[in-house]
């Protein structure tokens, strides 16, 4: 339980996240995302959420990013394409930045609202057992729905990825 | 009940004519004639069973007691003459339009409804009922002009409606004020007359009543609807307008101001005289310059009805009697002139005095009829018109010499417009339009009836005078009692 470490690791995640969204090359962005996810998992471990940290590394950094890597391999990485991507990045980032800042303002500022939690922080670690008891106890329905979601995603991905004439307009 | 029948019979006649006309178009006219004739029989029954006293007959039926409304109908000599006139003119117009082809059943029904509504005005003594019939009367007339008229008929019909509907508001407002003014809500004219109204209120109420009546009369400057309405209306419409609608205004002025507002009448009568004197000369002068024959006759109507106004506002026995006689006489002579001009129009499709002419050579009967009614228009002795004018002038001599001399001047001017109308149509050679077909039998019948009426009442007016006498007397007495 080391909040300071968690903070540092989180800061690293934030910096690398900034790099993710500003890189021209997809490969670079992917690498920086990996950094983000890993530093986040470190942050999780520091916060005592070891199951989450582990899951972050295994599933996110491992499984999900692996899928990304497969796709990224098909991307055109020629200098010309990079140049185009850079040119696109250079323009029209102001409105999104403004909107993002606008979202940030209330989220940052909004503290101490009526009824806000004033209890003292405990900072206890949560074991995987507790998590398992919760997930397969009261949250069982949620887990079932989540599994349905995954199934739907699977079938959708299968359907979309199928070769053949695209349906609908295009 | 006979009085209700007098209103209901023509009304039902109209409805049944319409129904019959759906099945067989030619049946409508027969139905209309039968119902109107039944109305005449009801009138005769009324005459037979007349009671002695001020009113020949009176009917009171509850209608809406909570709102103080009831059906009060009364008939005296004046109303009797007016109702007789309306039934006669109704029959006459139906006969005239016997062979009409354009929506004939509706035409005959409309004629019947005009008669019914004006009968209602002539008989009603419940003020709400009066206002109801007063407004109702506009509808069939509006239809007559708007459907069967010539030229710019919609505009003329709407002008007619606007003038008279706005004027009717004055009547309506005054009626409701009267109804609300008493201890209990009551619109009974007799009750109101007996109760008496406050003198100041009488003036304003009389203004409201007089507005409605004077627009219908019409007196300048409220007359602008009449020439247009007459010009665009079909012949039967013109006859009913001149013979009936104008008379409802005169009847109203004759009857109600002295009955309900004698003190107000006392105050306002001098202004009425001024207005009448102005209208007499003005109508005659404008008539002198007309080129459309119907417009010319319409303006002569304005002049003659202004004389009626003078007679009524004069408030002496002679002038009131004269006004009553002019009402009848003018109904005959103006109707006849409209009939004749309409007949000319049917033949040559123009009423322009600059284009007509030479009737005397090609259609002598036409010319003779024109001569008779032209002389009636300019108050030739021997016609009822003269009697009326002479009595009004006599009364004016009692009231104020100035008005008498103005009426005399109007007699002179009447020759100017009368000869203009007459010689432009009858004399000379036709400039454009030659009438070659003389009056047909169907046209001649009404003309002869009207001629007999004009001459008979001109020579033997006793019937009229006896009939008018009670109304005239009570008006004179009411005014006398109101004089401080």
């Amino acid at each position: 339980m080391n909040a300071t470490f968690a903070l540092w690791a989180g800061s690293l995640a934030l910096i690398s996240a900034l790099l993710v969204v500003t890189r021209a090359s997809v490969v670079h962005a992917l690498i920086w995302l990996l950094v983000t996810l890993l530093s986040l998992s470190a942050s999780f471990f520091a916060l005592g959420a070891s199951f989450a940290g582990a899951a972050q590394i295994l599933i996110y950094a491992g499984a999900i990013l692996a899928v990304f890597v497969f796709v990224v391999m098909t991307v055109d990485a020629s200098p010309k394409a990079l140049e185009q991507e850079r040119a696109r990045l250079g323009r029209a980032w102001v409105p999104p930045a403004l909107v993002a800042a606008l979202v940030l303002v209330p989220l940052f500022a909004w503290r101490g609202a009526p009824g806000a939690d004033t209890a003292a922080p405990m900072g206890a670690a949560v074991s995987a057992t507790d998590l398992g008891m919760l997930l397969f106890g009261p949250w069982a329905a949620v887990v079932e729905i989540a599994s349905g979601l995954l199934l739907a995603a699977l079938m959708g991905a299968r359907h979309l990825g199928r070769r053949g004439k695209p349906e609908g307009r295009g | 009940m006979a009085l209700i029948a007098l209103i209901l019979l023509p009304f039902l006649g109209g409805i049944f004519a319409l129904i019959a006309g759906k099945a067989e178009p030619t049946a409508a006219r027969i139905v209309a004639v039968v119902f109107l004739f039944c109305g005449v029989l009801a009138l005769a029954w009324t005459y037979q069973h007349a009671e002695a006293g001020r009113w020949m007959m009176m009917t009171r039926e509850p209608w809406a007691p909570a709102m103080g409304m009831s059906i009060i109908l009364a008939i005296d000599g004046l109303s009797f003459i007016m109702v007789a006139l309306s039934l006669a003119l109704g029959l006459l117009t139906v006969v005239l339009s016997w062979n009409a082809t354009d929506r004939a059943p509706l035409l005959h029904a409309t004629l019947c409804w005009t008669v019914a509504a004006s009968n209602g005005v002539f008989l009603a003594f419940d003020l709400v009922l009066l206002a109801f019939f007063w407004e109702l009367m506009l509808v069939p007339s509006f239809l007559l002009i708007a459907i069967w008229g010539h030229g710019d008929r919609e505009a003329a019909a709407i002008k007619f409606l606007i003038y008279n509907a706005i004027a009717g508001l004055g009547l309506l407002a005054a009626v409701f004020w009267i109804g609300a003014s008493g201890p209990t809500v009551s619109f009974d004219a007799f009750e109101v007359a007996e109760r008496g109204l406050p003198p100041t209120a009488q003036i304003w109420l009389l203004l409201g009543f007089a507005l409605a009546f004077m627009v219908k009369l019409p007196v300048p400057p409220f007359h602008a609807w009449l020439p247009d309405a007459h010009t665009q209306a079909p012949t039967v419409g013109s006859i009913l307008l001149a013979g009936l609608l104008l008379k409802t205004g005169a009847y109203g002025l004759f009857r109600f101001p002295t009955l309900l507002f004698p003190q107000g009448m006392e105050v306002l009568a001098p202004y009425g005289l001024i207005l009448g004197a102005f209208g007499t000369i003005y109508g005659a002068l404008v008539a002198c310059g007309q080129t459309d024959a119907k417009r010319l006759v319409a303006y002569t109507s304005v002049a003659h009805m202004s004389v009626v106004l003078m007679g009524i506002c004069g408030g002496v026995h002679f002038s009131l009697m004269g006004a009553g006689i002019i009402m009848v006489a003018h109904a005959f002579s103006a109707s006849a002139l409209f009939l004749l001009i309409g007949a000319v129009y049917d033949r040559v499709h123009t009423r322009d005095l600059r284009e007509l002419g030479g009737l005397q050579r090609s259609a002598p009967r036409f010319a003779a009829a024109f001569a008779l009614f032209f002389s009636a228009t300019l108050a030739m002795p021997g016609t009822a018109n003269f009697l009326g004018e002479a009595l009004v002038i006599t009364g004016m001599f009692q009231v104020n010499w100035l008005y008498a001399s103005i009426t005399l001047v109007s007699l002179v001017v009447s020759v100017v417009y009368g000869t203009r109308l007459f010689q432009r149509i009858v004399f000379g050679t036709p400039r454009k339009a030659q009438v070659t077909v003389d009056l047909s039998f169907r046209e001649l019948g009404p003309v002869v009836v009207l001629a007999i009426g004009t001459l008979l009442f001109g020579v033997l007016p006793q019937f009229l005078m006896t009939g008018l006498d009670p109304a005239v007397n009570s008006a004179v007495e009411a005014l006398r009692a109101a004089t401080p």
Binding site: A52, D76, Q84, A100, P121, R158 | -
Partner: protein, 102 residues
């Protein structure tokens, strides 16, 4: 865990989310938008974990698991769509896919 560090972590998670959001909005390359989406999802995960740690509650981690599942499903569908779209349109430019306008 102090109050300050908790607040700082929460702000951090917010910032992560907003950075991801910015990436989604600012970038035109579909793949990078998908990556930015992952970043944006990381923000809430951190917030849930932090809050779970603060209250010693397993719900935070449970929500993280849910976000994980959501991210997995989203990536699967997103990439499949990307591949599919690349057959008919320019995969590097999401702006070229504007047929919704018509």
């Amino acid at each position: 865990m102090t109050e300050d560090s908790f607040t700082a972590l929460m702000l951090l998670s917010t910032a992560l989310f907003v950075v991801g959001l910015f990436g989604v909005l600012a970038r035109r390359s579909i793949l990078i938008q998908l990556l930015s989406l992952e970043v944006a999802l990381a923000g809430p995960s951190l917030a849930f974990i932090t809050a779970g740690a603060r209250h010693a509650d397993a719900g935070g981690q449970a929500m993280f698991v849910m976000i994980l599942i959501l991210a997995a499903a989203e990536v699967a569908l997103g990439l499949a769509l990307y591949l599919r779209l690349r057959r008919t349109a320019d995969g590097t430019d999401s702006d070229s896919l504007s047929s919704l306008r018509h």
